[in-house]
Amino acid sequence: MAIDWFPLWLSLRVAALATILAVLIGLGFAYLLANFEFRGKEGLDAVLTLPLVLPPTVLGYYLLVLIGRDSVVGRAWEWVFGGPLVFTWKAAVLAALLHSAPLLIKYARAALESVDHSYERAARTLGAPEWRVFTAVTLPLVLRPILAATALAFARSLGDFGVTIMLAGNIPGRTQTVAVAIYDAVEAGNGDLARTLVIVISAVALAILWLANRLAPVSERSRAGSVL
């Protein structure tokens, strides 16, 4: 039988985009949390971690309220881009982002906080401005753990089901990701399709986890176990 590979490509594309956004957002928040003291810091950390523990339906509900067609954000989006955000593949990116960004924030914060500050201090005494300290000293020192976290975030983005189906729906050829397609195939009694997609997505996830473990230093591996 002919297998429709669209859900797999869509999932990879959505996961890639979500991961890129997650790295940018994650590094930003992690830098903030690791380097500055401010009121409500741990509260912010808790809110940012919440998506890791809340049921997907709860997250989906929140997001529907936040970006639905009647919400302020939803209307602004329609005004700027001329179409709704919900039930498009962009909403699937948002759903994936909700799971990958907290992961990255957690890892990147831990990595940034574990950097021996004497390196950064040394760079400052040598006259380097803050951006140069970050790009030339801090970032290279945390590159491996952050790449490992990025790989994990990508794997996590690939597998979202609950939030995606609430936010992006299940429109074959448009918003149907692998996880949703597998559910659909099982419901429809299409065992061959379900089996194939399950095997492919498992292999991809396994490969990414292997990569993440190769990237993370030994001490990071035990931490990876505790976050997941």
Binding site: D116, S118, T125, L126, G127, A136
Partner: protein, 358 residues
Amino acid sequence: MIDVRIRQHFPARPDSAPFTLDMKFEAGGGVTVLFGPSGAGKTLTLDCIAGFVRPREGRIAIGETVLFDGATGVNLPARDRHCGYVFQNYALFPHRTLRENLDFAAERLPKLERYRRVSEMIERFRLGEIAGRRPHELSGGQKQRCSIARALLAAPRVLLLDEPARGLDQSLRADLYAVLRQVRAEFATPVLLVTHDLDECFELGDQMLVVHQGSVVQSGAPRQVLDQPASEDIARLLGRYNLLPVEIRALDPGRNTSTLRLGETDLHGPYFPGHFKGDRVILYVRPELLTARPRDGRLGANQCPATLERISERPESVRLDFAGGIGVVMPRLDFERYKSSNSKEWVVEFPGVLLRVL
């Protein structure tokens, strides 16, 4: 000229007692050593000067440049202070080769000029053969030289060294001292060095500041400080004296003499201005200045009977510890002569004119 006057209070925490840093000192050219026990606030002072820690009040200036002034709110960021800092762990960037580490310090120079300056520094500090290696492939001494070279490349106003000899063995220490003497001779940069090692003060220091519980308690040339500690606390910090409680029995300014009662013995010393007959004071005298021999016959002047408790062998000398807290360090050859006598009863002779009291 470095002018430091800073105050900072650290309230008590579950894991530490309250601490007040109250440092006032001036340091000229050459090497100024901050000497004191760990926890005295030495490294904290360096961190305030470098701009890592903000004091609550005070002023830090190097020459005409004010780095920090609590009253006017001046507080230059570390990158604008131009303080070379050599960290205890050297803080060489682990992902960069030695040459790239040096390049980082000269980044703002034009490429050709940078290459010339870095190469010159590599030559000067004998780093040529290892310039392409990463820090983890270097020995402690090489890392140290690289760290000093990197700090100097940025043309700092002052070079700050935090316990540079910690963790180095004897021969590497000698190398380090040679490098720092080279720095003193070849660069005009004043050096502030933190240590708790008195030998290092003598090895390197033009001036030493004794730091105790957050404050400078005495300053001067190392020799001068060692000869005349200003208080019993400082004498204890220096850790190089016999500190013996005595009573002043007689004082004669005319003949410049005094009599001190130590246990059952009268010692004759010089006149001590500012003290009175009957004062109970602390006699301080370095163990190398005392002589000792097994007891035979009568006691002479300034000789005190003492019971030998412990013998510690050293490469060039022997230290004898007697009951009552008297320590004597004598040359090995002298000790050999008395070795055959197994007596515990000895005589310790005090050098009359060299006795000092606190």
